[in-house]
Symmetry: C2
Subunit: 199 residues, 2 copies
Amino acid sequence: MASLSPLINELVQALTILPGVGPKSAQRLALYLLEKDKAGAASLVATLSEALDKVGHCQQCRNLTETEFCPVCDDAKRNDDQLCVVETPAEVLAIEQTGFKGRYFVLFGRLSPIEGIGPDALGLDKLKSWVLEKNVQEIILATNPTVEGEATAQYIQQMFAGKNVDVSRIAHGVPLGGELEYVDGGTLAHALAGRKSVY
Amino acid sequence: MASLSPLINELVQALTILPGVGPKSAQRLALYLLEKDKAGAASLVATLSEALDKVGHCQQCRNLTETEFCPVCDDAKRNDDQLCVVETPAEVLAIEQTGFKGRYFVLFGRLSPIEGIGPDALGLDKLKSWVLEKNVQEIILATNPTVEGEATAQYIQQMFAGKNVDVSRIAHGVPLGGELEYVDGGTLAHALAGRKSVY
């Protein structure tokens, strides 16, 4: 946009790093911030800069936090027996909404030999020592049902084979409210294979 | 979200100032910035903070710019005879796309007695001295076709009555590709009243 000044153009460019924000939305955001909400923009700058500076990983579950331990790990009321393994912090939030009261472990990725992501990058040694030292009863594998997510779940499962800890995988099947007609074949195959007796 | 740390919660809150970003998207943006694109986030902080600091108004047309004059006012090749009056910087960009080669004047609002916005707030004295000193031939009023936009256009029109300058208003009517059946009554009434002889 030749009619925007260089600095505003630079701001538009910087805003396109946001997921789901293209050049047009970025332009709208930039003009909004500079024209209508300078105070909000200033507080965004301050907060984002502080967060970038201070937020790191929880010493126990690896989730994002600016403190040594995240709020979940810090909460003495949670159930120490159950440990749910997920790929990302967003998935912790999703599972929190189900009312799950156990602990979490965040992998920040999944095993991917192609991208050079091995067990070390996912902190699996940390997971192992936590489970064995704190005497966790059940590990719930909630990695995504993708090829890599499944491989990661399998790897963790084998890691704890014969270690006196239950390992379970979340159920995959037809989502509630879904109609069989529109469910993909892979999901339907999973739903059939994972059928349960109703008596 | 009790499971997010206080600082991350604060960042989510700060991100909701963006137009079109609700709590859920803000959460997604916050986790994305902290987890996947720290470098992009840092450059966003730097650019936004510089822009907030330096971007002000063009001395001539009032548009947003960090320099004394905006790129359009600085461009000697533009047509000095035509001056297009718009409400916001975003509207300058929209009109630029039509290939318009004149100059702009940005009101940053419209007359609104209820909100206490009078001629001073819109810089109308600046507009007046520009038009009279630089001998502008035509003022094109491109304020929005709302009650307040119309009132603003009327006010500017009266301001230049008998001043040896043409004042025109952009046409309002049925948009290209629009079907009469789905066009609202007000627009259709405008389209009828503004009909032109085809011979």
